[in-house]
Amino acid sequence: MGKKILLEHAEVPGIQGYEVYREKGGYRSVEKALKTMSAEQVVEEVKTSGVRGRGGAGFPAGMKWSFLAKPEGVPRYLVCNADESEPGTFKDRYLMSKIPHLLIEGMITASYALGANTSYIYIRGEYYYLIGILEKAIEEAYANGWLGKNILGTDFSHDLYVHPGAGAYICGEETALLESLEGKRGNPRMKPPFPAVKGLYDCPTVVNNVETIAAVVPIINDGGEAYANIGIGRSTGTKLISASGHIKKPGVYEVEMGLPVEEFIYSDEYCGGILNDKKLKAVVAGGSSVPILPADLILTTANGEPRLMSYESLSDGGFQTGTMLGSGGFIVMDETTNIAKNLYNFTRFYHHESCGQCSPCREGTAWMEKILHKVLAGKGSMEDIDLLWDIQTKIDGNTICPLGEAASWPVASAIRHFRQDFEELVKNPAGLDETRYYYHCNNINPEVA
């Protein structure tokens, strides 16, 4: 284990700049693709690699690329989703700040494969400081002939731009991102048509996460098969995991798919164990949207198999006893954490971030926040827990975009596995720090709640 293919050179001094990056083998994938491969061959390599969308959905990237419509005379676009907003996820920020040329190189190679002459990196507004880093890397790429007209003397020309968002979780959803890139509110679009047919400016468009695009570089350099040999089963390659919460060594770790979760949490190579040597209580393994699991179920599946860092192993058992790899936002909670309080935090987040387009999400997230707020304020009843369950079932599956599910799953899983934490708050309201929760709530009048 411990194989690094994306972050191998991330700590090399000067790797942010073009010279060092090139010395370490940078831009070889562009050379290889443009000079020795057809666009279709590049797509085939990505298909062979089995790399799956790293933003959270896990859809095979090569297949997504092959869906791209190619009508005559219509421009096609590649858009990089750098809107990283899923709570617990900070890997793209790390990658872009440490080794920006890797993303630029991936964008050029991927654009060649897709026949896109213009591409955009849509980056969340809060990462404004990274725009300067990316634009400097782009400038260097232009100056060295990797961008612009007739790259490497071929007839492939490409322009690459960075576009800032302005604070909206929903813009990480690909159609909301495209709306935002067109200068509108980030309201997700109905699908179909999918972006592959009608995306940016109604043109065929592929939207890929930063990490997915970066993975194109080693895939083309070493071949799709070599990439597919890394990892386990249908979870090929490596994954960047953002580790946070109650652990000794928070940070971004590149892990080979198939690493046991237990090793990831307790080994000194990764998280280094639980902070202050407390006991592990729960983990949210793939960003706030995925089901939370108690310690026993995150370490081993319901069948007693060791749980691994892979799409299949983490989802083993379905939502009854499993979860999802998601974006790789790995949030660890120790024995002192009340899961109902953490859930209040998540529901407040989803209420705040709902775009307001679909009633089940707009109203439902508000109700869920309000009910949890009431429970936390010591005014809850046992019926409230059932009501909360009922509301989440009515959001799940009834909205245009997956934010509805993202808001429902944390609620369902928290009640499923940690009902006692809710009951404890209902039974012993005296132990609660009431004012704090009123105080941090922007939406609800404490007098009314």
Partner: protein
């Protein structure tokens, strides 16, 4: 302020032109978010109706198209704010590592509640949702700068520094990226 009095500096106007050129012809509306960022940074940290109308005129779109966008995104301020907005992340990972204590500390120190501005117009305190700094929690953002692994002492030092510098911080400020 009437619309006539509002005008970007020459430097910013050049940037506006450069930004619009990133998008295909006739798609200049795509430049709305970056130009609103620019406007907020240049015109006292918030977007007044005349400022938004001015942006609409630059992009040749209807004012309502600007209002509906400006009101959607959380980074745009539609009311006056302090010179420095202390945006404390309070989502799960930061909350687990004591974000609430940081908010309370700033609130007590500056004697303002979340959402309020100090009487001298220097600081506004805000809580925000996940800024992607979960591994360096707790954290706050001021302008474009992330302040991470916060302690009360660090927060005190930061507030002192900002007060001494007495400058408006904006999202467009250049940031030196230090050890991540």
């Amino acid at each position: 302020m009437s619309t006539e009095e509002i005008k970007f500096s020459e430097e910013s106007l050049a940037l506006v032109k450069k930004t619009i050129a990133k998008y295909p012809e006739g798609r200049q509306k795509s430049a709305l978010l970056p130009i609103l960022h620019l406007a907020q940074a240049e015109f006292d940290g918030w977007l007044s109706v005349p400022v938004m109308d001015y942006v609409a005129s630059l992009l040749d779109i209807q004012p309502i198209e600007v209002y509906e966008v400006a009101s959607f995104y959380s980074m745009f301020n539609l009311k006056p704010v302090g010179k420095c907005i202390l945006e404390v992340c309070h989502t799960s990972s930061c909350w687990l590592r004591g974000a609430d204590d940081i908010v309370d500390h700033i609130s007590n120190k500056l004697n303002i509640k979340v959402g309020e501005t100090t009487a001298d117009g220097m600081f506004t305190l805000k809580t925000v949702e996940c800024l992607g700094s979960c591994g360096s929690a707790p954290m706050l953002m001021c302008g474009s700068q992330y302040h991470e692994h916060l302690t009360f002492e660090k927060v005190d030092g930061l507030i002192d520094n900002l007060r001494n510098e007495n400058k408006r911080t904006t999202y467009l400020d250049e940031v030196k990226v230090e050890n991540y």
